[in-house]
């Protein structure tokens, strides 16, 4: 946190982080009440990454997201009303209730989709960067992926292609140190995943992903570099998830992390540390932050309300949206 920031930016970063956090808390609540069907992967603890990265982007910059994607979508400008509607399976959800938590897509604001398959979004991001290059546009693509995903073969392939084709893509590795129960200490023999960029001949950097300003400033710089030099970049953000791998993990009692470890990272909460910092620096007042908190809480309540009031799709809508160019006879129903 070396650079000075404007009040506007500070409040905006704060607001977005709180929005991500409260959103997830509400989601977990609704999952536990079975109001949200299935389960979700919460982003709690990692807010500084999505918010820091996405706040440094333009609207027409693109992202691909992951199974743990709510934070990315919100930070990139997703409307939480349609997100909640999606999570409640409603017809005006972002995906008309077809996708749920892991598939929120919104090309209008540059979201090319989340992904339930670990690592699979990374080459898709590279493909979008290829479009940018071929069409001589000047936006960039961000591909979020986890520490676990870094060992997936397609990620290797995608990074190499991005490098040899000089594509404007930033690979953002959210290293929260675990893939479900598997620690990076087990799955990797290197300290920093960002070192892997050297294997493809481009630059990488590891930063503190609990510090939103560090993430924001680095992203700004890297985006400029990538835009002007047309080279990919691998940015690793070390972070931590406070919840289980997914909402219901607790009941499984997996115990792969110690309470001490979890508490240590909770003490470095990205929201708390940032608010403390901007208060101490006199950038804003306690009241201003409280107002934001209240605003966010209201916004979430309204969004949930909006979602609850939204219509459910017709069951038979399940056979729609499969093909963009339609033909009779497909998709086949399962019975006649």
């Amino acid at each position: 946190m070396t650079e000075k920031i404007t009040k506007n930016l500070a409040l905006e970063l704060y607001r977005k982080m709180v929005l991500c956090r409260k959103f997830e808390e509400k989601v977990a609540e609704l999952v536990n009440k079975n109001e949200i069907y299935g389960t979700t992967h919460e982003y709690v603890g990692e807010e500084a990454v999505a918010v820091g990265v996405c706040s440094a982007l333009r609207n027409n910059d693109l992202i691909t997201s992951t199974h743990r994607g709510h934070g990315h979508i919100i930070s990139k400008g997703g409307d939480i009303r349609y997100m909640f509607a999606e999570l409640l399976g409603r017809v005006n959800g972002c995906n008309k209730g077809k996708g749920g938590s892991m598939h929120i897509a919104d090309p209008g604001i540059g979201i090319l989709g989340a992904n339930g398959i670990v690592g699979a979004g990374v080459p898709i991001a590279v493909g979008a960067a290829l479009t940018i290059k071929i069409k001589k546009m000047d936006n960039v693509v961000i591909s979020f992926f986890g520490d676990g995903a870094s060992n997936q073969g397609v990620v290797h392939e995608a990074m190499n292609m991005a490098s040899i084709w000089n594509l404007p893509v930033i690979f953002v590795c959210e290293n929260n140190q675990y893939a479900v129960s598997t620690s990076v200490k087990y799955s990797l023999k290197i300290e920093n995943i960002s070192e892997r960029s050297k294997a493809y001949g481009f630059e990488g950097k590891t930063i503190d992903g609990m510090d939103v300003l560090e993430v924001y400033n680095n992203t700004k710089e890297i985006v400029n570099k990538v835009r002007s030099e047309n080279k990919p970049f691998l940015l690793e953000c070390k972070t931590y998830r406070y919840s289980g791998h997914f909402t219901a993990e607790k009941i499984l009692n997996l115990n792969y992390r110690t309470e001490d470890e979890i508490n240590y990272y909770k003490s470095k909460c990205p929201i708390l540390s940032f608010s403390t910092k901007i208060l101490n620096d006199g950038i804003c007042t306690k009241k201003e932050l409280d107002d934001i908190d209240n605003l966010v809480i209201n916004q979430i309540d309204e969004a949930v309300d909006f979602a609850r009031k939204s219509k459910s799709p017709e069951p038979s809508d399940a056979l729609k949206d499969m093909y963009a160019t339609e033909y009779t006879g497909i998709p086949q129903k399962g019975w006649i």
Partner: protein, 321 residues
């Protein structure tokens, strides 16, 4: 006999095989802490050399399983989610499944793929709800899908002891069901189906968790005077054709009730072989009840709409008379 959970029966089968045979090792994502519950506590008994966590590298770890099998181990690979198969597809259908043949019988790959939960589990949507066994059947891979705890234990043991790659699909909707299972280790041979209920009027070929639904349906229809025979192939490849044909020749009517995609699915194969072998016995067309050919949608009502269920089965059965 004890009444235990399906999941427990699976766990027990694997545990016992590991106890008996030091070459049996389990390899997969999160098997030490046992996200899926099958290998719970195994690490304490068998240690990290035999309960091996992998990074998220499905193609690679499947190849590792093959290499381990070729060189003297008998690995059981736990596939945490069934879509795993897609990343590992080359290693499954183009490597493990073909190596023996291409080597003229010199190589042998005794590996078991334990697909720890297959099918729609409610709200997991398009990429966590598939039932991808027809992809493997098409490659000629031996494939098992037990419908009861008893079958699960006996078939998994046979799969592990088989000298070829065998895929064992555990239907997610069966894991929490209970049934009688002997304490001791036993085997159910691959390729042996079972008539789960005898009947006279129509044969329902049902697989995995749908067997239970077929049985319930059979019971319900008893009162309407329709006598339903429920055939459970248990092993999808090799398929117990003799038992199937016997049933079809008796009833003259067949419905294939299967929860995989329709086009080129398991039901298509069963329909085609029945046509070929029992043509003159058929009183009505072989009918298929399958998934619709779409990814599983998230919304609960849409999800039900595309999945095979009792309502659809009853409707189609009644149509046949």
């Amino acid at each position: 006999m004890r009444n235990i959970y399906y999941l427990k029966a699976v766990s027990e089968a694997l545990f016992n095989e590991m106890e008996i045979n030091p070459d049996v090792v389990v390899i997969g994502e999160d098997v030490r802490y046992s996200l899926r519950g099958i290998t719970k506590g195994f690490i304490d008994i068998f240690g990290p050399d035999r309960v091996i966590d992998t990074p998220i590298s499905e193609a690679g770890l499947t190849g590792v399983g093959t290499g381990a099998a070729l060189s003297g181990l008998r690995p059981v690979l736990e596939f945490q989610i069934c879509e795993f198969i897609f990343f590992a597809f080359d290693q499954l259908v183009d490597q493990a499944q073909k190596l023996r043949y291409m080597s003229g019988g010199k190589l042998k790959a005794p590996v078991t793929y334990l697909i720890a939960s297959s099918g729609a589990r409610g709200g997991m949507a398009g990429q966590h709800s598939d039932n991808p066994y027809p992809y493997l059947l098409h490659s000629g891979m031996k494939t098992v899908m037990p419908s009861t705890p008893y079958d699960a234990k006996g078939l998994l043991v046979s799969a592990i002891r088989d000298d070829d790659p065998v895929a064992v699909f555990l239907p997610v909707n069966s894991l929490g069901t209970k049934g009688d299972v002997p304490e001791e280790q036993y085997t159910i041979p691959l390729g042996k189906g079972e008539i789960k209920k005898e009947g006279k009027d129509i044969t329902v070929v049902s697989t995995g968790h749908l067997v239970k639904i077929a049985l319930e349906t059979a019971e319900e229809l008893e009162s309407s005077g329709i006598s339903v025979e429920v055939y459970d192939p248990r092993t999808l490849l090799p398929l117990d054709r003799e038992l199937l044909f016997k049933s079809v020749k008796k009833t003259g009517r067949v419905i294939v009730f299967d929860d995989s995609n329709r086009t080129c699915g398991f039901a298509a194969e069963v329909s085609a072989i029945i046509s070929e072998e029992c043509f003159t016995y058929l009183k009505s067309p072989v009918r298929r009840i399958t998934r619709a050919d779409v990814p599983i949608p998230f919304n609960a009502q849409m999800e039900s709409f595309v999945l095979p269920d009792k309502e659809k089965l009853i409707k189609v059965i009644l149509k046949n008379f």
